[in-house]
Amino acid sequence: MTPMEFLIDPFIEFAFMRRALAASLAISVGCAPLGVILILRRMSLTGDAMTHALLPGVAVAFLLTGFSLPAMVLGGFITGLTVAWFSGAVARSTVLREDASLAAFYLISLALGVLIVSSKGSSVDLMHVLFGTVLAVDDTALFIVATIATLSVLTLAVIYRALVVECFDPTFLASVQGRGALVHMAFLTLLVLNLVGGFTALGTLMVVGIMMLPAAAARFWAVEVGRLMVWSVAVAVVASVAGLLVSYHAGLPSGPAIILSAGVICGFSMAFGPRGSLWTRWRTAPHFVR
């Protein structure tokens, strides 16, 4: 087998590999930049919490419509948005901080979801949906994640400046604009949209992993926000391709293979990245004059 065959053949031969690749790339482009903002806002665990919060909506949609992906995306989106907006609004208008208020609302939502699932029996199918597999992506799922990725990139471009200023100096934004909360809510909406799309199509691990690991890795390669986003997307894309190839050739599950590939890149970045990595802290280089 030539290297070319090794890299290209799986995608030429099998339609499910092509779909998995396209879906992973869409997730990479949509989610990775959001991860950068989450890390800058010290909300790295929000993605994980938020996927739990989606459960009641997904469960209700599943029970009402059976295995209808669009319905589950809609249901998850509504509950996710409710939790995100409530926790954002409570954090901004009461003494509770963002992390505590999100924790409160996502736990309420999760408990509600578990209640709905268990009261209706047969949860096996639903569990399969929640931890879905990258290789089972059909056309509908592909269409949904691609649409969300497109929407997400465009919206992010529109709110970019306000969002960056809101992270950097919220008092300033409030003094010139007076609507800082609006930008934050727009961002949370984007976050929920991406999570719910990726999560129903590809599973929790895939979407949260692709959101956070590449963004964490990017921190060691770039400084400026825009560059961090480009780096995070690049890392996510490389991890997607590498993970799918490893999973194909070694016969491993694809989702974990993709996320572990991102993990390997992240680990390498932590050790050897040019900015603030272990290597830059340990090396002894002569200091400058000024």
Binding site: V165, F168, D169, P170, T171, S175, V176, Q177, E224
Partner: protein
Amino acid sequence: MVGAITLDDLTLGYDRHPAVHHVTGTFSDGSLTAVVGPNGAGKSTLMKGIVGALKPIGGRIDVAGVGRRHMAYLPQQIQIDPSFPISVLDCVCLGSWNRVGAFGGIGKDEVMEARSALAVVGLDGFEGRAVGTLSRGQLQRVLFARLLVQDASIILLDEPFTAIDERTCCDLLVLVKRWHAENRTVVAVLHDFEQVRENFPETLLLARETLAWGDTCQVMTEGNLIRARAMAEAWDEAAPVCDAGDMA
């Protein structure tokens, strides 16, 4: 009067406890006023109220002629995240928000303006530095450069010279005087009495209530300052409800 700030029986506070209590008066258009008083006197609270970050629990604040767009505010506790990756030049460019907004392009003009503002505050060559790598004094210079670019008709400064070295302080005071000469309304919270006497024509002496407000030489008298120092700072959980509002 454009650029005047009128306080009408203003009460601001937290959890129903007043920090600024029944204050009435006017920062007239083009005035340069120092706000002086002990810690806990409500100086920062007053600034927050004027800028609109805190809703009055009584009375009114009128900002004549200009809206929030023409007000620039430098808070005491800057909430800037020092680890946030943004360059000095980008930070100063934010001053042009009123003209470009969240969506408009930042063109050559805006960048030129930001660069010249940086030169004015003595930070030539710092354009590409990350804001987080600056010292406290350098950061204050950057924030003054942003105020310059904001070109506002009302400028509110909350303890702008605290923890700032003498040279930086002198340089920045020159800017404050320049704003005054340009007929902008400037209100600054300060603690250095000498500095106030030398540079600020008007003073508001605040100890939750107005102790004196007017010409600096008449406000900053020994007697007034002793009265200010005697202000009770205690927060009384069992304080009775204030009935001054009912009498009005």
